[in-house]
C-alpha cells in the first residue's frame, strides 16, 4: 500500500502566506531561545573559554604557533591515524551492518524486534564495560582465539571491530529504517525490465538508499573519529586518536596550548563532516516514494535469504552478543561455582572498609536519577529545538541544526574543563553541584532527541495545522491538538534514547567533580580499579545490571517505535 504522503518540495511547504511571516518568525525565535541559551551557557561558552585560554597561553595571540603545533610530526601522525582508522571503521561497519539492515528491514521472522533491540544495546553501553568484554572476543582465550587461534587485542583490528560493535546499530537503524519504507515494487519494476536480482538492487535500491547510507556513514565516521574509550582500552599505548590525545594533553599534562590546537583541528574536521551530513540529510528529503514498512517485509524465501538471515544472526551473535555474554558469565562465575553471590554483595554495605559507604546497588538509583534529569533536560531543550527547526527556513536555522550536533564532536574533557573555569560565579556557580552531571549528559542526549523528532515533526502535513486553524485553534492549540498526538510516540522514543545514552554516559561524568554518589559506569570503573575477586565479580554484576537496564529501556522503545517515520536512530 502506498502512503499518500504529499511530495511537496521545501519551497512549496515553507512559504507561509505573506501576512503571517513575522509572527511565525517570532514564534520560532521564542522556541529557539531556550536551546540557544542552553548551548551558549553549557557548551559554547565553556568550550571557547578553555580553547581561548590555551591559545592565549603565555600572552598574546600567535597564529604562527598554532600552525607550528598543528604541523608537528607527532600531531600529524595522530591526525593521520585518527582519520584512517575512522575511514576503515566506517567501511567495515557498513560492510558488516548492511546485510543486517536488509534483514531487519525486509525479512519477517520471529525475534525481529528482539534482534533490533539487541543490536542497539552496544551503542549505548559505556566503554569501560565494553573494553573488558571486547577483549574476551578478540583477546587471548577469546572466541577468535578459540576458533582460529587469532588474537587481535594489540592490533588495530581490535579497535576497528569494537567500532563495528558500537556502530552496527547506527547503520541498521538509519539505513534499515529507510529500506523498510522503500516500495519493493521498484525493484520488481527493474526486474521486469530485464535486471537480475543484484542489478535491480544496485540500480534501483542502492541509489534510493544512498542518502541514508551516506548519512549513516558520516555518523559512524563522526563517532569513530572522536572515539575515546575504545581506543584507550583496546588500542593500548601505541594507537592514539585526536580525542585521546586531547585528553592526555589536558588531563595528564595540562598542556592547554597543544590541547587547544588539537581541539580546533578536531572541530574543523567534525564541522566539515557535519556540514556534509546536513547537506545529505536535506537532499534525502526529496521525492522518494515511501510505503508503510509493515507491508514490505516478507518471510525469508529461498536458500539465499535464509543464508543471509543465518549469516546476520551469526555476525550479531559473535560480534554483538558474545562480548556482553562474557560479562554475564563472569558475573555469575564465583569461586564456589555459578551463583548470584556477586549480585547479593551489591546490596551489602562493604563491611571491610572499602570504597563504598553505601551498597553499590545504590549506584543504580543514582544513575536512574541522573538519567531521568538528563532526559528531562534533553527532551525539553531538544524538543523545543526540533519544534523551532520544523519549518525549514534560512541558513541561520540550518546552522543551528548543525550546532546541536557539535557536542558529539567535542571531547568530554574539553567540556568538563571548560565548565571548571566558566561556571564558577553566581548565578552559575554550578561546579560542585550534582546538576552539572545531567546537564553534561544532556549535551550528548540532545542531538539524538533532535534527530529523532525532526523528521517526524516535518512529516506532519502542514494542511492538518491549517485545518485546525480554520476550525478556530490558536497556533499553540493547533500544535497540541495536531502535532503532539502524532509525534508523541517519537517523543517517547527520543526520551527513551536520551535516557539510555545518559545511563551509559561515562566521559562527562568522570570529568566533572561530583559529590560522592557514583553512577553505574563510575561505580563499575571504581570496582575494576582495585584488586580482589569480590570487587571484580561485583563490577561484572553491576555491568550486567547496566546492560539489562539499557536493554530494557530499548526493548520498551521498540514497542513505541513510530512505524511511519524514518528517524535516524
Amino acid at each position: 500500500m502506498v502512503l499518500d504522503r504529499p511530495e511537496v518540495d521545501d519551497s512549496a511547504r515553507a512559504a507561509p502566506p505573506a501576512g503571517t511571516a513575522p509572527r511565525g518568525t517570532a514564534v520560532r525565535f521564542a522556541l529557539m531561545a531556550v536551546p540557544v541559551a542552553f548551548f551558549a551557557v553549557f557548551f559554547a561558552y565553556p568550550v571557547s573559554a578553555i580553547v581561548s585560554r590555551g591559545l592565549h597561553h603565555g600572552g598574546g595571540w600567535d597564529p604562527g604557533r598554532i600552525v607550528a603545533t598543528a604541523t608537528r610530526p607527532d600531531i600529524l601522525g595522530v591526525l593521520w591515524f585518527t582519520t584512517w582508522q575512522a575511514l576503515a571503521s566506517t567501511a567495515l561497519t557498513l560492510l558488516l551492518a548492511l546485510p543486517g539492515a536488509y534483514v531487519l528491514a525486509r525479512l519477517d521472522f520471529p525475534g525481529r524486534r528482539l534482534l533490533r533491540a539487541v543490536v542497539t544495546v552496544p551503542f549505548v553501553l559505556p566503554t569501560v564495560v565494553v573494553g573488558a568484554a571486547f577483549l574476551a572476543l578478540v583477546g587471548r582465550g577469546g572466541l577468535l582465539d578459540d576458533l582460529w587461534g587469532v588474537r587481535l587485542d594489540t592490533t588495530v583490528w581490535a579497535i576497528l571491530l569494537a567500532h563495528v560493535f558500537f556502530n552496527y546499530a547506527v547503520v541498521v537503524r538509519t539505513v534499515g529504517g529507510l529500506w523498510a519504507q522503500l516500495d519493493p515494487r521498484q525493484e520488481e519494476a527493474a526486474r521486469m525490465l530485464g535486471a537480475g536480482r543484484f542489478a535491480a538492487w544496485r540500480s534501483v535500491t542502492l541509489p534510493a538508499l544512498a542518502p541514508s547510507l551516506a548519512a549513516a556513514a558520516l555518523m559512524v565516521f563522526l563517532f569513530t573519529f572522536t572515539s575515546f574509550g575504545v581506543v584507550q582500552i583496546l588500542g593500548g599505548p601505541t594507537f592514539t586518536t585526536l580525542e585521546v590525545e586531547i585528553y592526555r594533553q589536558t588531563a595528564d599534562l595540562l598542556d592547554l596550548p597543544t590541547a587547544a590546537v588539537l581541539t580546533l583541528l578536531q572541530f574543523a574536521a567534525v564541522g566539515t563532516v557535519l556540514a556534509v551530513h546536513a547537506r545529505i540529510v536535506r537532499r534525502r528529503e526529496t521525492a522518494l516514494r515511501l510505503v508503510d514498512p509493515a507491508h514490505t517485509a516478507h518471510r525469508p524465501r529461498g536458500a539465499a535469504q535464509w543464508l543471509l538471515l543465518g549469516g546476520v544472526g551469526a555476525t550479531v551473535a559473535a560480534l554483538l552478543l558474545a562480548p556482553p555474554a562474557v560479562l554475564v558469565e563472569r558475573s555469575l562465575d564465583t569461586p564456589r561455582g555459578y551463583g548470584l553471590d556477586y549480585y547479593r554483595a551489591l546490596f551489602e554495605v562493604d563491611s571491610r572498609g572499602g570504597s563504598f559507604l553505601v551498597p553499590p546497588i545504590e549506584a543504580v538509583g543514582n544513575s536512574l536519577g541522573y538519567a531521568l534529569a538528563a532526559t528531562a533536560v534533553s527532551v525539553t531543550v531538544g524538543g523545543l529545538a526540533a519544534a523551532a527547526l520544523t519549518r525549514r527556513a534560512g541558513r541561520l536555522v540550518r546552522g543551528f541544526d548543525a550546532l546541536l550536533m557539535l557536542p558529539l564532536g567535542v571531547s568530554a574533557v574539553t567540556v568538563g574543563f571548560g565548565f571548571l573555569i566558566t561556571l564558577d560565579e553566581p548565578p552559575l556557580d554550578l561546579r560542585t553541584s550534582w546538576i552539572l552531571v545531567p546537564l553534561a549528559q544532556a549535551l550528548v542526549g540532545i542531538p539524538f532527541v533532535v534527530r529523532i523528532m525532526l523528521p517526524v515533526l516535518r512529516a506532519v502535513d502542514e494542511r492538518l495545522r491549517e485545518a485546525a486553524a480554520v476550525l478556530g485553534a490558536s497556533p499553540l492549540r493547533a500544535w497540541r491538538e495536531v502535532d503532539l498526538p502524532l509525534v508523541r510516540r517519537a517523543l517517547l522514543v527520543a526520551a527513551g534514547f536520551a535516557f539510555a545514552v545518559s545511563l551509559g554516559e561515562f566521559g562527562a561524568t568522570v570529568f566533572i567533580a561530583r559529590p560522592d554518589n557514583p553512577t553505574l559506569p563510575v561505580a563499575v570503573a571504581r570496582l575494576l580499579g582495585r584488586p580482589g575477586e569480590l570487587n571484580y565479580g561485583q563490577a561484572m554484576a553491576l555491568a550486567t545490571l547496566l546492560m539489562a537496564v539499557c536493554a530494557a529501556a530499548l526493548l520498551l522503545l521498540e514497542r513505541f517505535r513510530p512505524d511511519k517515520t524514518s528517524g535516524e536512530f
Binding site: 515494487r185 521498484q186 526486474r191 521486469m192 525490465l193 530485464g194 535486471a195 526529496t286 521525492a287 516514494r289
Partner: protein, 342 residues
Amino acid sequence: MALLRLEDVGVRFGGRAALDGVDLEVPEHRTVCVLGPSGSGKSTLLRVVAGLQRADRGRVLLAGADQAGVPPHRRGVGLMFQDHQLFPQRDVAGNVAFGLRMRGAGREERARRVGELLELVGLPGAQRRAVPTLSGGEQQRVALARALAPEPKLLMLDEPLGQLDRGLRERLVTELRGLFGRLGTTVLAVTHDQGEAFALADRVVVMRDGRVAQSGTPLEVWQRPASRFVARFLGFDNLADCTVSGTRADTPWGAVEVPAGAPQGEGTLLVRPSGVRVGPEGEGLAATVEARTFRAGRVAVRLRPDAGPGLEADCALGEVPPEGARVGLRFGVGETVVLDRA
C-alpha cells in the same frame, strides 16, 4: 498460436486461494483484458506470469516453454505497474532507457530508441524532465514507453489507467488500442473498469474469487453475461429470478417474452435498460418514476414497479417522464437474456 498459456494455475496466501485453477490463453498480437473486482486475484495473476510470485500449482507457458524456475528478468515480459513505479532518482530518459541498458544496448541506440518511444507516447523532448514534475497522465505515458522499450514478447498492464481522471482515461484507452494495434504488441491487462476492458480488449476474462467466471470477446460477454455475478459486475441491475418455459419467463414483474432457445427451467432474467420501454400508465407493468440521471443525450430512469425489483430504463431526452409519474412498462424481446441462477 497462444503466446501465453496458463494451465490450472493456483496460488494460496495462507488459507486463502488468490488464484484457484485458472486457465487462460493470450494469442499473439492480441489484447486480453482480465476484469474483476478488487481481491478477485487479477494482480496475482500478472505477478505469476511475471515470475514475481511463485504458483503453488499449474503451469505458465510462454511461447510453449514452461516458465517454472525462470527468473523474472529472463522471461522477456514487460509489466506496467498500477502506480507506474517510475524510478524517482532518474529522469524520463533514464527511466525509458533502463530496460535497454539491462540488455546491453549502446548509448547511441538507447538515445535513438528513447527518442522514438517518447515520440510514440506523445511526449517528444521530455528526456531530461524529472519524474516528480510529471503529471499523472505524463507518468503513465513514460511508464508505457519504459515498458515498451525492451520490446517484450508480452506486455502486461496492471490497472493501466486506474489513477487518471475520466476524460484522460477515455482518450488514452483509444490511443493505447491504436498503438498496440500498430505495433502488433501482445497485451495482457487487468482492470476493474468494464469500460476500459471493453474498449481495449480483443478478449475479456472476468474473474471472481480467484476463478475465471467468464471469458469471450467483449461483445459476447456484454451480450450474454454468464452469470448473475458477471451481469452485476458489468453494471446490469435489471435482474430477477425467473422460470422459463419455451419463450415465456415467469418473473416477479409478470410474464416476459424471451428469445427462442433460452435455457429452460429456473434462471435469472436480465433486461437491458434499452429494453425497458416506458409508456403511458395502464399499458403493461405499472411503475412509478423514482429518479432520473442525465447522461449526455440519454437519460437513465429509475423505476419502482408495483411488483418485483426496481428497474432502470434508458430513455431518449425527449421521452422522459417526470419524477413521480405513473407509467406502464414493456420489455423488448431482443433485450432480454436468461442467465444461470448463480
